[in-house]
Amino acid sequence: MATASEFRTCPDTGLLFHKPAEKLMKINAVVAVVFLLVGGVLGLLVGLTRWPAVHLLGASDFYMVLTAHGIDVLIYWLIFFEMAVLYFCSSTLLGCRLATPRIAWLAFALMLIGAIVNNIAVFQGNSSVMFTSYVPMSADPMFYLGLIVFAVGALLGCFVFLGTLVIAKAEKTYEGSLPLVTFGALTAAIIAIFTIASGAIILIPTFLFSIGFISEIDPLMYRVIWWAFGHSSQQINMAAMVAVWYAVAAVAFGAKPLSEKVSRAAFLLYIIFLQLASAHHILVDPGVSSTWKIFNTSYAMYLAVLASMIHGLTVPGAIEASQRKRGFNKGLFEWLRKAPWGNPAFSGVFMSLVLFGFLGGISGVVMGTEQINLIIHNTIYVPGHFHATVVLGTTLAFMALTYWLVPVLFRRDLVMKGLAKWQPYIFALGMSGVAVFMMGAGTLGVPRRHWDLSFVSAAFTHNFPETAYTLLGLMGISVVLAVIGGAAFCGIIVASLLFGKRLSLTEKGETPLVAEPITSYEGVGMGKIVAPGTFVLALVFLVSFVLYYFVNWKFLAETWGIS
């Protein structure tokens, strides 16, 4: 049992922080932001190289920087932040001591050492193998070793999270079922364990291959198992992102989930079906059958897509119902117009939700369709898609949550509040441009991970249409805008942690940090529909989805016959 002196109660939110857990959340979140900063600078270099008029880096530097950019943001920024989220959702939300803080520190140390070793290997220049490191191309053994050590650390972190849930249950620190947000974090942790296991199964032999202990690794087997790690790791991000959506809706509006059953069932669908996602990367590979592709790529009838569509309705639906309960009940959209658009925690999460759905979700399902993948596989459309999911979705949501964590967890007042108000909009606008223009260029066949579209000194040459060059130029401009938004975020957070006014550990601050919880949605909405505005927006989404889906079938029908 923990003693009372190991805890502090946040005067603004009433949350009970276990001090050893609090330290761990802080250090994981800070390291995450450092990796975001590094990864963002690398992203700028990548963007400025793929902007044809600028073409900043040389070829070997470009491939090296691209490798580091992918790993630093896709893995290190997100997973370090998710560790902070896991500890928060278990220890803090359940008011429970963290299981084995020492092992959590060991987990952190392993993750940090692994990440640094891996980065050193990449920047030494002989591991420019991209995030995917497809065999038989081989990197420096340290490249794989760093990743493996990091993964072991992350796995330990997941176990600390699960252990904390067990302790909370045993010591009865809460009553009934887990809070929905913790349930979402549990989903992320379960997917993370599957992901890390897949990573170990493929990266350990690949490490042995790189030191010459194993002579051959089957490239198709590598792809199938590697993607069970590579794609699933993005599903950790997605589950964590959705948990953050629910959390911010609760914090900013006191929103109660429309119904616990639906939201929890949707998380359950993630656990059961998201793992099939590795198939998306194998759709145009030799050696796997169409039946296998159809079943796995559709997550068995698109049940995980269904889950995301459910969250996409229930989160804004709960926000709408709470707003209506508070009196913004006029017409379809008064609740939305009168939302706190100047609060970066809200605006960030709302844009994350909308842009993840419209840009990331739709494009992901379309390109993951067995046959449509033929006209999209490995074009720059693919990074366009995942910048919409991982950056506009997850990163923007994590940024939004961070604005709230600075006063609550770090007990510092935000500095540069005016800039903070605008930051989510700048970042979202820039990154939407990045995603949309990359997808546009990809539709015209522009390849991803490619240094020189003019094919100088190649045996043959190819002229991409002028439009492709225009789109890549617009992408370059958008990259600059997004990086300004990202830099503003890092600047605000770092400055707030260093120079922000200290908030009292015992007395309430001036601005309320958490809205009064709503207990019932009795009597709100129109007719029997509690969230009619959200439903209309959802219908707009569905219509866009259907139209875009069939437009791509039409594109496919226009190309050569393949059978």
Binding site: P136, L374, H377, G445, R449, A458, W560
Partner: protein
């Protein structure tokens, strides 16, 4: 209670579902099923489908097959490095190999005719990206993939590599001609 706290109703699974959720779940499920059905539907009625035909092979065995085709059907040479241009008969098995950093040889096909295209790599993974038709296939060493292709427009096509394959990746371009 909010999503940060345990559900206020301990028997939350017995609470009724909101109408708006039910409506949306039904619509979304319907759409999910329709999207699922589209893929088998296209296998029956669509003209762009990958076969499941593929064989295990080795670099030597595959190279031998490609060479045999080149020896038999070369009509001229082309490009900065004088690659053979091969014009195999319509309906036949045609071969292209990927290696660091070439697509070899050049193929010349007839518009509207079908060919069984074989693809494999001699070394690393490569990406067969036929432009501007925008057909993209993964090419793996040790695997020989067979797809039947039917060009629908005469002209000069490029095969760009779109799977990163090392420092010469951006110089890896091949050629396919389609004649009337």
């Amino acid at each position: 209670m909010s999503a940060l706290m345990p559900p206020s109703d301990r028997l939350w699974w017995k609470e009724p579902i909101e109408k708006v959720e039910l409506l949306w779940i039904l619509l979304a499920l319907l759409w999910a099923v329709l999207m699922f059905v589209m893929m088998p539907y296209w296998h029956v009625y669509g003209k762009q489908n990958l076969s499941s035909e593929a064989y295990k092979t080795t670099a030597e065995a595959y190279q031998k097959k490609v060479q045999a085709m080149v020896d038999q059907y070369t009509v001229r040479t082309d490009g900065a490095r004088d690659f053979p241009v091969v014009r195999p008969p319509a309906g036949s098995d045609i071969y292209m190999l990927a290696r660091l950093w070439d697509w070899w040889p050049v193929l010349e096909l007839e518009n509207g005719k079908s060919y069984r295209l074989h693809l494999s790599s001699l070394d690393w993974q490569h990406g067969f990206s036929l432009q501007p038709a925008n057909i993209n296939l993964q090419v793996l060493p040790g695997y020989e993939m067979v797809v039947t292709i039917t060009p629908n427009k005469a002209g000069e096509y490029s095969v760009v590599c779109n799977e990163y394959c090392g420092i010469g990746h951006h110089r890896m371009v091949g050629r396919i001609y389609v004649t009337e």
